[in-house]
Amino acid sequence: TSNAVAAPKTDFKVAWSIYVGWMPWGYASDNGIVKKWADKYGLTIEVTQFNDYVESMNQYTAGAFDAVTLTNMDGLSIPAAGGVDTTAVIVGDFSNGNDAVILKDKASLADVKGQNVNLVEFSVSHYLLARALESLKLSEKDVKVINTSDADMVSAYKTKDVSAVVTWNPLVATILEDPTAKKVFDSSQIPGEIIDLMVANTDVLKDNPNFGKALAGIWYETAALMTADTDEGKAAREAMGSASGTDLKGFEAQLAATKLFDKPADAVAFTASPSLPKTMDLVRNFLFEKGLLGSGAASADVIGIEMPDGKVLGDSGNVKLRFTDTYMKAAADGSL
């Protein structure tokens, strides 16, 4: 946990958890892609798989890992709010239908009013619900949120007392297999707001830019492989499906609801677009309302969020979350 130490560091630890947009990390680790890129820069990179997403972020925040996969929202509320200056090295994808509001036996989002809604409190599902309610000019007061662990969401849906859930894939797909389940809102209606990132500790990255480059190299090689319409690509998708507990078909269905940035240029464009500051503004206001930017936070501005162009959203004296296109651009330029 040598945040401030500038001594040359060659051993890095990366944590990832099981989610469709992050499966490539496991595949890359299993198939030598990680080692190949690490060797290229004279590093060793240890990739650790988590079953439990929250724990992976906690471990990163506590300093046990140099990089971790998480969403833009959790990046702000967990490591950044926890004082760990964090940089998004890779914008891997955004959820384009992977997160959804599902009602039982009701076809319209408006029916959610007055219901108990089961979701993982303070997660992107919570955010999605808030955005869905906003689209109806409702607020969270109009429903009752019940915290429910993601691992048990599917069986929770099957019980009588659950009538509305908000969750993500593969849980969405599994729940929708039930004929009573109707998807009434999903993340494709708020495109680009739920972003899956690979973030790294800013200090570590500053001292060891090669680490960022290696991560970018790993990601784009794997992404290209898995999206290829070849036998190799299919084998990669099948392996990722199996690792996430499903099969090829299930995995491809999840992939279809994900806007994967397999080409670095697309990711660079997305990161530089003016929609990102807008999204982050929505996100930080949501988090502030929920009291998740630290108990002493006076406004949503307490934490600074730096955009690739150097503009800062919020307190520029306390920048803790940074978006950069340095590494993705290097990949796009072929200069890795």
């Binding site: 906690n58 506590a62 303070f122």
Partner: protein
């Protein structure tokens, strides 16, 4: 003098008792100070003032959203579930355990089954439990019961079996029927053991309660711990853990006092 024969006096005993706790707090304070020096916002080991703030906020200021005093509403919610679960387990264990211990037919029928069930990891069966019991209080109480009752049943059955055969025969010569012997000879002698048995199961019961609350809930000590775990708010988690431990230690102590008060003979027997 041999080590086994040297005894601390009263004062030394008290000092020794407190020592590990003091050391633990000191070690924590040192670790916390070191981490906070590196990152003033570190959440893993907050300083003691951090705890004071969090405890103050949770225990003495109303929550902005619900207006509840969270620590107390969480405690109430958890204790109700805990005691409901333990209560049901206790009654079940008493009835089934006594029956298994006393009736050879029932013993043949149930003893192996209960032994097998007591080895089933209940956490793995949660989905089924939810479907059957719903997501409300029932399934939380059921999880505690399923986790705790088989062990209690086995323990009580064993205790009922261990009653000297002579006592049962003696009761028969006093004209006792099976029912009367159960009521007047076996039950009263098993009750003190039942209390001890509940005390031994307090740890596991809390464990299952926390697991159940982690899964689906909107209040409770376990709910709060798992909710704030998302933000690594150890300033809340540590006080909650200490509070749970205190509650458990206290319950343990009170139950033992109750046993001694209600069944004075069980204390005499020990000596």
């Amino acid at each position: 003098m041999r080590w086994i024969n040297t005894r601390p006096n009263r004062g030394a005993q008290l000092a020794l008792m407190l020592l590990p706790f003091v050391l633990l707090v000191a070690a924590y304070a040192a670790g916390s100070a070191a981490r906070l020096a590196e990152n003033a916002n570190d959440k893993l080991l907050p300083g003691l003032t951090g705890f004071a703030d969090a405890v103050n906020r949770l225990a003495f200021l109303p929550d902005a959203r619900t207006g509840d005093y969270l620590l107390w509403s969480d405690t109430a919610a958890s204790l109700i579930r805990l005691f409901a679960g333990l209560g049901i387990s206790t009654v079940t264990a008493l009835l089934i355990g006594m029956a298994i211990g006393m009736l050879p037919y029932l013993r043949a029928l149930l003893a192996p089954f209960v032994a097998a069930v007591s080895m089933v990891p209940p956490l793995a069966l949660l989905p089924i439990l939810f479907i059957v019991m719903g997501l409300g209080e029932a399934s939380k109480i059921a999880l505690i019961t399923i986790g705790v009752a088989p062990t209690m049943i086995r323990d009580l059955a064993l205790k009922a079996l261990e009653l000297p055969r002579e006592q049962i025969v003696k009761a028969e010569t006093l004209g006792g029927s099976s029912w009367q012997i159960a009521l007047r000879v076996v039950l009263p002698q098993i009750l003190p053991r039942l209390v001890t048995c509940v005390r031994l199961q307090l740890g596991p019961a809390w464990l299952f309660l926390i697991a159940a609350e982690a899964i689906s809930s909107d209040s409770g000590l376990g709910y709060r711990i798992f909710l704030v775990r998302r933000y690594l708010s150890m300033d809340v988690i540590f006080p909650y853990v200490v509070w749970i431990t205190l509650l458990a230690v206290l319950t343990n102590f009170v139950l033992d006092r109750i046993r001694i008060a209600v069944f004075p003979w069980s204390e005499l027997e020990k000596q």
